[in-house]
């Protein structure tokens, strides 16, 4: 999960036929694509799997058409959203969706939260491996102290304090990386 190449460097390598780079690109964005389909659009596992494979199949096929290599993240997000909507439309022809289903589908609030989550995961990938590992195992993989202790050969009693210290480091890293823009800059 460590990130050494920027998104644009990774895309350029994929375009040149580097299979390792492609594997890294899939790894980097797999959670994001998965989360959009199951959390924002609430697709079933079967539909989410189809969307997941279709997103990466299309990305692989159309990587040459990407105008800005650094924009691979919003490009994949847009592609995933479009395919989720197509899937929901197809499903609603077979089984009409309720108003509530449609209202919840692709909630902007959830999509924004997932963008923030990816930013945090990218920052996490830049933290020391011991922090990356313990935070990912505890929060994202929902592993118990016992499982983490066994996997990382740590006494269970030290895990909570390590998690807290690593969250602090992650926070410092993110705050350092996101200094407020100078007043003259407007976005």
């Amino acid at each position: 999960m460590a990130q050494t190449l920027s998104d644009s460097e990774l895309v350029a390598r994929c375009r040149s036929g580097d299979q390792q780079a492609w594997a890294e690109l899939v790894d980097r964005f797999s959670r994001y694509v998965y989360a959009i389909s199951v959390q924002a659009f609430r697709l079933s596992d079967a539909d989410a799997e189809d969307v997941f494979q279709e997103v990466f199949a299309r990305a692989y096929e159309h990587l040459d058409g990407l105008r800005d290599d650094a924009a691979v993240r919003p490009w994949l997000a847009q592609l995933t959203r479009r395919l989720c909507i197509d899937r929901l439309r197809a499903t609603s022809r077979e089984r009409p969706a309720t108003d509530e289903d449609l209202e919840l589908a692709g909630s902007e609030e959830t999509l924004t939260m997932l963008e923030d989550a990816l930013t945090v995961h990218e920052a996490l990938a830049a933290t020391p491996e011991h922090c990356r590992e313990i935070l990912d195992r505890f929060f994202a993989r929902d592993e118990s102290y016992r499982t983490i202790g066994e996997a990382l050969d740590l006494p269970a009693g030290t895990i909570a304090s390590r998690i807290s210290r690593c969250l602090g480091r992650l926070r410092e890293f993110l705050e350092g990386r996101t200094q407020p823009d100078p007043p003259s800059s407007s976005r």
């Binding site: 797999s30 494979q53 945090v120 929060f139």
Partner: protein, 84 residues
């Protein structure tokens, strides 16, 4: 994104659990599968009968023609031919 209190960081890390390993592996193997995929697609474009069989029942059609059962190829072909 402006505030990074630790509770929010924890929530955001939790929001992106890993995708199922098999899905990730299949997507990572796309380049390896592409050669086999291209051959099948080219054949389907040249042979309407073969294409119709793929659309009707992809896995049986591939098996009948002696193609190796590669999950990545099958997934990509399902997308291409919208087969069940």
């Amino acid at each position: 994104m402006t505030a990074f209190d630790e509770e929010r960081l924890a929530r955001l890390i939790r929001a992106l659990p890993p995708a199922p390993e098999a899905w990730v592996r299949a997507a990572q193997e796309l380049p390896l599968a592409k050669a086999g995929l291209d051959e099948i697609v080219a054949r389907a474009e040249a042979d309407a009968h073969f294409k119709a069989r793929l659309v009707a029942d992809l896995e049986s059609a591939l098996e009948a023609e002696g193609y190796e059962r590669d999950p990545a190829v099958i997934k990509a072909l399902k997308v291409r031919f919208k087969s069940k």
